[in-house]
Symmetry: none
Subunit: 473 residues, 2 copies
Amino acid sequence: MADISDVRRYIRENSDTYLKRLKEWVSIPSVSSNPKLRPDVIRMVNIAKTEWDKLGANTIIKDIGFQETADEVIPLPPVLFGQIGNDANKKTVCLYGHVDVQPALISDGWKTNPFKLSIDDKGRMFGRGASDDKGPALAWLNVIEAFQKSDVEIPVNIKFIFEGMEECGSVGLEKLIHDEKDKFLKDVDYVCISDNEWLGTQKPCLAYGARGMAYFFVSVQCAKKDLHSGVYGGAVSEAMVDLMTLMSKLVDSQGHILIPGIYDSVVPLTEDEEKVYSSLEFDPEQFRRDISAPKLIHDSKEELAMGLWRYPSLSIHGIEGAFNDSGCKTVIPKKVTGKFSIRLVPNMELDKVEHLVKSYLENEFLKIESCNKLEVVLDHGVKAWVSDFNGPQYKAARIAVKKIFGVEPDLIRDGGTVPVTLYFQEALGKNVIMIPMGLCDDATHSQNEKLDQFQYFKGMELFAEYINQLAHV
Amino acid sequence: MADISDVRRYIRENSDTYLKRLKEWVSIPSVSSNPKLRPDVIRMVNIAKTEWDKLGANTIIKDIGFQETADEVIPLPPVLFGQIGNDANKKTVCLYGHVDVQPALISDGWKTNPFKLSIDDKGRMFGRGASDDKGPALAWLNVIEAFQKSDVEIPVNIKFIFEGMEECGSVGLEKLIHDEKDKFLKDVDYVCISDNEWLGTQKPCLAYGARGMAYFFVSVQCAKKDLHSGVYGGAVSEAMVDLMTLMSKLVDSQGHILIPGIYDSVVPLTEDEEKVYSSLEFDPEQFRRDISAPKLIHDSKEELAMGLWRYPSLSIHGIEGAFNDSGCKTVIPKKVTGKFSIRLVPNMELDKVEHLVKSYLENEFLKIESCNKLEVVLDHGVKAWVSDFNGPQYKAARIAVKKIFGVEPDLIRDGGTVPVTLYFQEALGKNVIMIPMGLCDDATHSQNEKLDQFQYFKGMELFAEYINQLAHV
């Protein structure tokens, strides 16, 4: 086992450099969902390339084509591939990060300019992308530099993939990973992603799973144009009435999904897994208070975490085509589309879920004897991801966390969907881990996103130690 | 009986002027429900005043105070009062019109700019308000001018009330009419309103009734902020789920209202009334085809007309607070408000309906054992209106229709709500008639609203003849 105390010291002594770099990265409004800012996303990818090049990485810019927006065809940001080290005696880890960010405007309610990193007296660094995912992505670069500057041999071969479309569903990435599995990604032993958060603010975590997602559109049409309820109310079987009935059959107020068979393929809870839940540091009451919910569906931390991570959930997001403004409108909408999604867990298969949902809703529609037209569509979906947390990579990460933070990490899953985890795992058949850097209160995707300095610097030490441990497990 | 052939000829010869005026009125986006367009509504009222002033009317602008919106307090559009003629030997008719319109955007599906009157080769004049109610309101002005320019004495005293809040429930008008019943409205013998449509496209009609309306908001709240379904799905009892359940309990796909007791006070059908239905010229198949509905709730013309006019109906208009755009969003909305309304018929009382709806929904909410917060509010409501169709005013109007169109009019009701009919009838105790100008396919409140030139010009001749007949019945 190498001694990396010099590396860790170097990290502690160069915080100014790391802040300066993060400031620069945050200053670039690389919002991938805004076509007007696409040049900034591309610029951001190129800045990352330049920084890696300075460390002697072999980088390649992978062009992934174009995107058709409503108005125009614009280039997709290229994906940055890179490699440092090619020693057949070392293990190879592939690091993933993204340099695009969610939209952010002062007028959304930011207290500071979202594209100017602002550090307050508690060491909180406010800025869009600070936590998701510029901070963590940049941290890898800083860590590799720290090894080099400390003259400590990097104990593994490093490959990395930095993309610029994550916040838009990682367009093009699945195909690219698949295409490169026997080329650039051929020798990869492990995949490590830092694009998530701690479960709370006190205890470090490692994530070994994320739920998938199946997003459905249910449309009912009753006429070819919107109708006035004074002129047609009492004559027409209304689309909105049928839709309300269908949407009311999906899930109950206790969160139980009513679609027959939907739970059938859910992996049963094992004893081993149950232990992971009972050791979690997770406060349901704090979780509830943060959102001022009157009550949660589950009371205990174990049930709550399982409800969020290892069981499917169904959320109804909204209705397209109906009246949605404030005030009153006496319209009978011609066509309404209900939107709901199911968060999938292992081993729910998309095809099966699609079939269950469609046949259930079609059958419920038959029951109400409506003359209207029904259409149920699976808009998009991705399976759940779960990795074996007993393998060497997790062992290395757990030892690293213990060394840096002095405690065993919680093993968590992400209730949301991180498609890239699955892309890597399915294409390469290798173990994937998520090592979060930020905290649960970082407000990623929201106003006033931040990353704590402590988490940034300590996270780099953790990354260094993880690489160190990985070479020896 | 005066000879008004000169008046009718004048009307036929001045169509260019009438088109020009309608173009100007339609060009003003006097959308009363949009606070930002309030200045346009006020401007529209003032334009009407100026036009009437040119005819020598004594006009008064009645200030009716302010409106509190969610964000601000804005002035209500004033109400225009006016009078032409004050001869104690003549009868006095009060004309009512409104110069505000429903919202309209090109993006809603308009083929032309809704605020630019566009006339096609069939003489259809497309534009928001063309039929509801700028065309008919303006027609009265044109008719009075035609009498004056033809040097034919106006056979009745004219009073008129033009408002700018009709599409928002005629805010302030009920009180104003009540306050003025012994002042401005003291000598009124009849009230005539043209703010409705023919039952079909072939046969003229007179309306003697209109349904009332009770508009409800049902809100469910589950959190203080919108939540990400990846982070909270499976933990929170979702407001949208509860709302779907409640909304599904209101009415079935066959139009039957499910609220217990709601039909109890509906006036039983009389033989006299039944005859009116059987003599109607009304084609359910044409009615269905116009809107491309797959099927109607009722097959026969009698049942269909009764379903539209003399029985209550419940329509679900939409949801506020949920995701409503195209595409996908994985939000769990914090608070959602369902909007629905019940069209009321004689003798349904508002208080009673409010009580039935609230207690039913509160009870249904108890059944689902949700921890969320429910609020049911009657936003606004008005009782149904029905007038005696055997009195002198209806006789005058029937003779006038026969003279202009060569056929006896159908006696119809309006399935919609025209609160002002009731305000006048209840405050003054005088007979109220509705003489429609537009056709059933005018698409008022919908995309591509239109008024046929033929109806506009012929309607003016009818208005002139109605005034003429009214002086002698």
